[in-house]
């Protein structure tokens, strides 16, 4: 028999989210969006609860989570680094920037460092095309980034 454990307040908040969508299985994607806002990621436990609340199989919930790259099952780092891979950023060299982050942090997109400090994700257009290529660390925006700048950005957070 599987057993799922979650802290009480989080569990209640999660149930509230489901309720705000009338516990409708058709609202699964919206529920998952809110749940990911709450937890930062979507661990198996959260998916189990969502499945139970919306009365839908957990395999289906996982099917949706694994399909959309926006959803993640790994917790984000303390300093989540997001690289815009939208068209404008891409043509101005975002891929090289992304490669440099991957190389220096030894992470793939979607991964979090072992010490939980950094996580790396790719984003679709963030709407700051004038600043392309754009990198976000948490809420802070870095514009017109070249691969050479990557080292310095990481350094800013390394000591924190």
């Amino acid at each position: 028999m599987a057993e799922i454990k979650l802290p009480e307040n989080k569990l209640n908040q999660l149930k509230e989210i489901c309720k705000s969508f009338d516990n409708k299985a058709g609202e699964l994607i919206n529920v998952l969006h809110k749940a990911q806002e709450l937890f930062g990621y979507l661990p198996a436990e959260v998916q189990e609860v969502v499945a139970a609340e919306l009365n839908t199989p957990v395999a289906h919930v996982f099917g949706v989570v694994s399909f959309y790259s926006f959803f993640t099952m790994t917790p984000r780092g303390r300093f989540p680094i997001s690289i815009c891979l939208g068209t404008a950023c891409y043509v101005r060299g975002a891929e090289k920037v992304s490669d440099e982050f991957k190389r220096l942090l030894n992470l793939k997109l979607g991964e979090t460092s072992a010490d939980g400090k950094f996580s790396l994700t790719g984003l679709r257009c963030v709407g700051a095309c004038g600043l392309a290529p754009v990198v976000l660390v948490g809420a802070k925006v870095y514009g017109r980034i070249a691969p050479e700048n990557v080292k310095d950005i990481i350094k800013e957070y390394e000591e924190l």
């Binding site: 057993e3 198996a44 998916q47 395999a59 399909f67």
Partner: protein
Amino acid sequence: MEQIKVTIDKKTLEVPKGTTILAAAKTIGIDIPTLCYFSLGDMKIENKPGGCRICVVEVEGRRNLAPACATECTPNMMVKTNSMRVLNARRTVLELILSDHPFDCLICAKSGNCELQDMAHRFGVREIPYHGEQSKYRVDTSPSIIRDVDKCIMCRRCEMMCNTVQTVGTLSAINRGFEAVVATAFEMNLEKSSCTYCGQCVAVCPTGALTEVDHTRQVISALADPKKTVIVQTAPAVRAALGEEFGLEAGSLVTGKMVAALRELGFDYIFDTDFAADLTIMEEGTELLSRLNKHLAGDKEVKLPILTSCCPAWVNFFEHNFPELKDIPSTARSPQQMFGAIAKTFYAEKLGISRENMVVVSIMPCLAKKYECQRDEFKTDGNPDVDFAISTRELANFIKQANIDFNALPDEDFDNPLGVSSGAAVIFGTTGGVIEAAVRTAYEIQTGKSLEKVDFDELRGMEGIREATIDVDGFPMRIGIAHGLGNARKLLEDVRDGKSQFHAIEIMACPGGCIGGGGQPLHHGDSSILMARQKAIYCEDAGKTIRKSHENPYIKELYEKFLGKPMSEKAHHLLHTHYFDKRTKITIE
């Protein structure tokens, strides 16, 4: 219905509006290849994702090729199913699928019965021009089923079976693009999931991605061990399907040949699960009457309807999905387990051997039986009542391995005493049969009268949910029947919500009942095969001298000499069980 005219490969025909190109072509003998498409027409089961594109055809006036399985005919449509363009496109589709498929055909469990292999054969594929990366997933082995996801071609038939038909929801398409496969939540082991082991996913998978755990080798080593007495029991549905594996027409009854083959293979005693089915009726029927009579006497506590409990996949289903109802099903064990319990006590004593030196093998149409015989409740000091359950398919392979010419075998009889059974027991193999068998006995015990007609046609059929009222000497006994777990769920929800009007409900997990079990010869979507098997089962019943379980002389003797009465303490201990709450628990940290 409005008829429309279409022309397929220069042949003009009329079809009802709404007919697909695939179905229209079939009526004039054109067999368009399919992979993802699957249907069991008579049971209203269909998978039509239009995903694999192996069935493409050319439609005049359309730029792109159209999937025949998912395109409806339109008036005066001109279709070409075998133009150069079509054949090239199909070949490319097939080569792309094969480029991401393992090449271990020689040792794959599905070899010889694989639709992908057949397709490669049909197209005469001799090389794969695309050499891409191959996906790598781990192999997941459970007590009944093996998932080898690398062999998945994403037809999604299993997903349809597990979700739409069975409403279990263990399997789902996960990931996207190249990585996409059908898997469990979080890719957990089936054993950890809510899987019921019904095996319906295995029954429809075109490739070796889903197969049963093969226990034939263990059976062979037991047979080779001089210290062991090896006893075999055969479930009712096996005799109505085994012949298909040897080229016989669907619906051929091969009871006698099956017995002869088992004797030839070296089993010491050839017994019949049907004997235990008669025993089940004695226990379950008595339980039904006792609950019913309490209810009639005004007892408000008594739980009704009673639900049959012979189907282990069904038991798994309610343990996971309706644990709050776990005291509603009959406590009677399944015939497989009753047989094992009697064999390893009564019969072992009779032979003067220990249970450890007795090996009980069952031949089952079912994959859930593999799991069932491994449940802890059915063991004594770690020794299981039933050691191995092998499927109809495994038995067929075993017979072929042993170079037995099955079709040339003479008809032989089961051994006494555990091989004697009534017609009521045989019909356990089809939907409606268990409850009909129970009614035959319950009626006579309750009324003290003898039935004029033992056939209850109102309980027979293939509709997913059926109901009938049987007149038991003035008392209208209301009976519900469901096969397929999705149908069972509907009846169960009514029971849970207090809306059910039935006194007794029969449930079988597989569409058609055991004749359509996950361990039967593959039907490849031909529902007429299931119909033929059902007919064969009723035919075997009609040919029996004894038609009612309580008239089986060896059953009477077993009660006199060993068990006492139905529901006696000894019977309780050996023939009844209890159920567990297996729902995922959400607790606070």
